[in-house]
Each structure stands twice: as structure tokens, then as C-alpha cells.
């Protein structure tokens, strides 16, 4: 499988995502600069963490207009697997590819620690094959991870099984303890925790590898079916 790791000016987890794709999962990986208009035939796309465009105006607000985002939207509309991690989640929300918005943490503190998350559904490309209820130790590293949306949207997310991960202990005020969501089809996922930084035991947890492994398997199944 070929991974595209989108790089915005200010992305800083692009190398982590590249490392996880290439060296942990053993797949092809390529950086795609935000000015590019093509994903170069990638099978999966990762929008990495960081501070795209300095997070000026709002997190992800400028990045959503980067030329590469039209290609990402088209790829997603065609069912292509896309995962946005941390800042990548914020970009997907601003771009309207995922519902809701990420606000400043309720405690107004930048949070950098490992938290426990629970898999809510196996419907998304990031959790396919993982039993709901599975708990994962994943690092978070954000100031704006407080997920919010209106009541009707939350109702829809629940009804359509779009909540992918929940925090066991809510660290940031996120609505309904949401740590990650998907779009309606399940092929676009955004999450605040960093699975790509928790893929090797030496880094404190390898639980992230099960998410990225599921992502890879889902992408493989899609390519095989086509």
C-alpha cells in the first residue's frame, strides 16, 4: 500500500506518520507538499499533526484552502481511506469532511500525556476488525482537542455509529468524551490522540499500531475489491 503523508507548513508529526507507515507497517510512504494538487496515486492518506499555517485564525482554517485539500476531498468522496491525526483532525473538521469543530481545551492547558481510549465502533477504516470496548493507551498532545458540535449533529453521530474512539477519562472537555469520529461512510476518520507515536513498545505503548494496522487492512481490502 502507498501512504501519502500530507505536509503543510507547520506540520510537525509528518515524520512520525512516515516512520509508522514505512518502518512499522513496512509500506511505501511519500510526503505530499500542501501545494501539490495530486496525491500521486496513494492508496491511503494521512493528515498529520502539527500547527499547519501556524494555526493562525483557527486551527486548520487556512490549511483547508491548501491546494492539496481538493485532491483529499475528491479521494475521500471516492471512498479513499483518510485519517487526520490531531491537527489533521482539525483540518478535516474545518474542511467540512468531518462534522463539528475542535475548541480550546476546557482547562485551557496544553495537554501532553498518555490517555486511555476505548474503541466505540469497528465500522471506521481505523478500527475495522477491532472489538468495540477494546482499550488503547495513546498519547495526546494538543491545546485544541475539545470536540464540539450541536445537539442534532451529536445525535446523528451516535445514531450512525460515527463515534470511533472515546476517552476513558475526559482530558479536555470534549463533548460525549469524543476522541475520534468518522464521516458517514466511515472512510474518513479524525482523532486527537496520536497512534503513529505509539507503535513501538520502546515509545511507551504499541497500541497505536493496532489502529494503523486496521487502517492498512481496510485500505488493502478496498484495493483488492477494486
Amino acid at each position: 500500500m502507498k501512504f501519502a503523508v500530507v505536509v503543510f507548513p507547520g506540520s510537525n508529526c509528518d515524520h512520525d506518520a512516515y516512520h509508522a507507515a514505512k518502518h512499522v507497517l513496512g509500506q511505501q510512504a511519500e510526503y505530499v507538499w500542501h501545494k501539490e494538487t495530486s496525491l500521486r496515486g496513494a492508496d491511503v492518506v494521512i493528515l498529520p499533526g502539527g500547527f499547519a499555517h501556524g494555526d493562525y485564525l483557527r486551527t486548520g482554517a487556512i490549511a483547508r484552502f491548501s491546494p492539496v485539500m481538493a485532491a483529499v476531498a475528491e479521494f475521500a468522496a471516492g471512498g479513499g481511506p483518510v485519517v487526520g491525526i490531531c491537527n489533521g483532525f482539525q483540518v478535516l473538521a474545518e474542511a467540512g469532511l468531518l462534522a463539528g469543530a475542535l475548541q480550546k481545551n476546557a482547562g485551557l492547558k496544553f495537554l501532553c500525556r498518555t490517555v486511555e481510549c476505548t474503541v466505540v465502533t469497528d465500522r471506521s477504516v481505523l478500527t475495522r476488525g477491532l472489538a468495540p470496548g477494546t482499550t488503547l493507551q495513546l498519547p495526546i498532545n494538543h491545546f485544541e482537542g475539545n470536540y464540539t458540535c450541536d445537539a442534532a449533529t451529536l445525535e446523528r453521530l451516535r445514531a450512525q455509529d460515527q463515534i470511533v474512539l472515546r476517552y476513558t477519562e475526559n482530558p479536555n472537555g470534549s463533548l460525549d468524551d469524543i476522541a475520534g469520529i468518522s464521516n458517514e461512510a466511515g472512510n474518513v476518520v479524525g482523532l486527537m490522540p496520536h497512534p503513529e507515536r505509539a507503535c513501538e513498545a520502546i515509545l511507551g505503548s504499541a497500541d497505536g499500531a493496532s489502529l494503523l494496522g486496521a487502517f492498512l487492512a481496510a485500505a488493502g481490502a478496498r484495493v483488492t475489491a477494486a
Binding site: L57, R58, A61, F65, A93, E94, A99, G100, A101, Q103, K104, N105, A106, G107, L108, N146, T148, C149, D150, G173
Partner: protein
């Protein structure tokens, strides 16, 4: 022409910064201050022939970029 755009969080959205400021003001003894909501203020220099045209232009910019309609609303003022 100059335009001013005031972006504020929708009333239903919790504003942790505003709450912190209110708490600080209360601890300073400003008991006459109730709730505080923090927002953003933009000044735009616009090229438009009329106030209506400027309002439309700036409204478009605010809808698309300056405000996130999921959590924010905005108000535009045009100075001729």
C-alpha cells in the same frame, strides 16, 4: 472602504477563555462583571463601490474564512 468584522462564539458554545477572564475579574473584586465572552475583531480594507457591495463581499469572506459556522457567528460594520 473599511469594514469591521466581529466574530463571537455562538451562545450555546462554552468559552473557556471567557470563563477564565470572568473568574480573574471576580477574584480582583469586580463583582459587577457577570459572564465574559471572548471574540475576534478584524479590520478589512475593501474595494467596493457601495456599502451594500462591501457588506456582501465581507459577508462572503466571513462565511468562508473568518468565522467557523459550526461554533461562531459574526457581525459586519462598514465605515464609508
Amino acid at each position: 472602504m473599511k469594514a469591521r468584522v466581529f466574530v463571537t462564539l455562538k451562545p450555546s458554545v462554552f468559552d473557556p477563555q471567557g470563563r477564565t477572564i470572568a473568574d480573574a475579574l471576580h477574584s480582583l473584586g469586580y463583582t459587577g462583571v457577570g459572564d465574559v465572552r471572548q471574540g475576534k475583531y478584524f479590520e478589512l480594507e475593501v474595494d467596493a463601490k457601495s456599502a451594500d457591495e462591501a457588506t456582501r463581499l465581507v459577508g462572503d469572506v466571513a462565511d468562508k474564512v473568518l468565522a467557523n459556522p459550526v461554533i461562531e457567528s459574526y457581525r459586519v460594520e462598514i465605515e464609508q
